[in-house]
């Protein structure tokens, strides 16, 4: 029988120093022993960690109400457990190997926990069915020993800790150690005294600075319910907002593509009609068109800007690798965005001429910008550029309407929840 483990019993029972500034962490260890007469006794230990040095204090003895005999001596219990040969599933030869690892393993678990809290939140859920099995099947083999280390619980009753709690409530197989021949050296102070034990249905929850027994299955149920409601709650996430804005802009872009094409064609038709046959009536064009020139130039810029941004969105221009590939494969959408950008440059380059048309006065007027005879020299390139812009814009519209649903930005930016963080994601960050 171990020498160290009974020592804590002799210590005077006093309340743990809970109010001290370096807040100690408590671990409830509940051990349920089965003695010779098939009577069950339950021991609850409150292990207090202060700076990772556990202080083992027996907190209270909680015999189940139905049991009549309460054994107060731990030695007896442990001896009773030790006397019986292990009939557990594991062969006895394994025990010496396994046992020294056990405290180490636990220490790992303890340090790893805070990391796991955030990421592997849902992964542990699978353990809860096995837990229910365990606690319902109370009648296990009489000689089976198990020391259950209940997971450390946070004492603060905040919401996240409550959720995390649900996962930790489960009894995992690795938590149950089935060994008995524990030498004093091997038995670290982390472990509770070994004895015949098995999972119990009670958990001790700190409520108003006092631990109260609660049924484990009910706790799990309630916390799982919270879990479900938390899953249901964020029905409208920021990703959805972003996606809806993106789609709304695509609609605006779709409208501006068509409107721009129509406007440009109308503009060039008006210019040619006003200029007459073989551009013979340029002064008439200037007279009629001068009020229209600048507003149309402004409108053209607005629509071209919208269309260009929308076309860039469709090929995900910021992701250079994808965009270049689209250009090289002569993808219609990529061609359309290129044409839009060219049209934008051409249109902007005519700003000076548009202003000149806007400020047109006949050459006879003093201080006129339009000297006699230079009209054709200035207007000829302007008309050609306008024609080219109209053609480019019309072609882009045709190309885009070939595949109106194509939107690489949406596919690449918002698809990451289907397959979590695929490798192609690396491309996005490199370019954007």
């Amino acid at each position: 029988p171990p020498n160290k483990s009974p020592q804590p019993l002799e210590k005077p029972q006093k309340r743990p120093p809970r109010a001290l500034p370096p807040v100690p962490r408590f671990v409830m260890i509940s051990a349920n022993f089965q003695s010779d007469n098939n009577r069950k006794e339950q021991m609850d230990y409150l292990v207090c960690f202060i700076d990772d040095i556990p202080v083992n204090r027996p907190k209270k003895k909680k015999p189940r109400p139905k049991h009549t005999l309460v054994s107060t001596s731990l030695d007896g219990l442990v001896q009773a457990g030790v006397r019986r040969p292990s009939e557990g599933s594991e062969p006895p030869t394994k025990d010496p190997i396994e046992h020294p690892e056990a405290p180490v393993q636990r220490r790992h678990k303890k340090t790893r926990q805070p990391l796991e809290l955030e990421t592997s939140f849902t992964q542990k859920k699978a353990s809860s069915p096995s837990l229910l099995q365990n606690e319902n099947g109370i009648d296990v083999e009489p000689a089976e020993e198990a020391v259950i280390k209940k997971p450390r619980k946070k004492t603060k009753k905040t919401q996240p800790s409550g959720l995390q709690y649900a996962n930790e409530l489960g009894v995992e197989d690795e938590d149950i150690i089935t060994d008995e021949q524990s030498t004093p050296e091997q038995q670290s102070i982390f472990t509770a005294p070994t004895g015949v034990s098995q999972p119990v249905g009670k958990v001790f929850v700190e409520k108003s600075r006092r631990f109260q027994a609660a049924d484990r299955s009910e706790l799990i149920k309630t916390t799982e319910n919270i879990d479900v409601s938390m899953d249901m709650k964020p029905s409208w996430t920021t990703r959805d907002v972003a996606l809806s804005v993106h789609r709304a802009f695509r609609m605006i872009g779709l409208f501006s593509h068509g409107f721009l094409a129509g406007c440009a064609v109308w503009n060039i038709v008006v210019i040619y009609v006003l200029a007459g046959d073989q551009l013979s009536n340029l002064s008439n064009l200037l007279q009629q068109y001068k009020t229209l020139a600048y507003p149309f130039q402004s409108l053209l810029y607005l629509l071209l800007a919208l269309s260009t941004v929308s076309a860039f969105d469709r090929i995900d221009f910021a992701k250079t690798s994808v965009a270049v590939r689209s250009f090289l494969t002569l993808d219609p959408t990529a061609l359309a965005s290129f044409l839009y950008f060219t049209a934008l440059i051409l249109s902007l380059s005519q700003q000076m001429t548009s202003d000149r048309i806007h400020l047109y006065t006949p050459s006879s007027v003093n201080g006129s910008l339009w000297a006699a005879g230079i009209e054709e020299q200035i207007l000829q390139p302007w008309i050609v550029v306008n024609l080219v812009v109209a053609l480019l814009v019309g072609l882009s519209w045709l190309f885009l309407s070939y595949r109106p649903g194509m939107d690489l930005s949406e596919e690449l930016m918002f698809s990451s929840d289907v397959e979590e963080y695929p490798d192609k994601d690396k491309g996005i960050k490199a370019s954007s």
């Binding site: 990421t119 910021a318 934008l344 960050k429």
Partner: protein, 162 residues
């Protein structure tokens, strides 16, 4: 974690400022009845760009990536937007100063020179690119991945450390 309502508010503010920018770029040449009108429009436009820069940086600071100390990663990811916005801001201010300087006495004067035309083209082109990149960044920052610890972030962290 970024709240949906906050994000919607910020996103609408950003889009408001962007549309004002586009509006002034398109129609400021028309609205030159008095030089003061253009001056006020230009000043508000520059302030809007500045506001957008401030907002996007506040959004960066709000991300988990930034708070985890991966400023480099965030800059690497959005360097296009940051650089382009800065360039556009500089181009805008210089164009506005130049145009207002030429038009202050008489707003309906023909002021165009080749240099002004060139600056004008570059400023307007930068405006379109700025609009695209800024919009994309603002929408991308709505991705919940930027606001929580994740496997993806850990991979990025390892890559950055290398």
């Amino acid at each position: 974690m970024l709240q949906t309502s906050n994000y919607s508010l910020v996103l609408s503010l950003q889009f408001l400022l962007l549309s004002y920018d586009l509006f002034v770029n398109s129609f400021s040449e028309l609205l030159r009845m008095a030089p003061v009108i253009q001056l006020v429009l230009f000043i508000i436009q520059d302030i809007a760009i500045l506001f957008n820069i401030i907002i996007i940086f506040l959004m960066f600071f709000n991300t988990f990536v930034f708070q985890a100390g991966l400023v480099n990663l965030l800059f690497h990811k959005f360097k296009g937007t940051i650089i382009l916005t800065a360039v556009y801001f500089a181009l805008s201010i210089s164009l506005h100063v130049w145009v207002m300087n030429l038009r202050w006495k008489n707003s309906n004067r023909f002021v165009w020179t080749d240099g002004l035309q060139t600056l004008f083209v570059f400023q307007r082109l930068a405006a379109v690119l700025y609009c695209y990149f800024y919009k994309r960044t603002a929408v991308r920052l709505g991705d919940p991945r930027f606001y929580q610890d994740s496997l993806w972030l850990r991979k990025e962290f390892l890559q950055v450390r290398r």
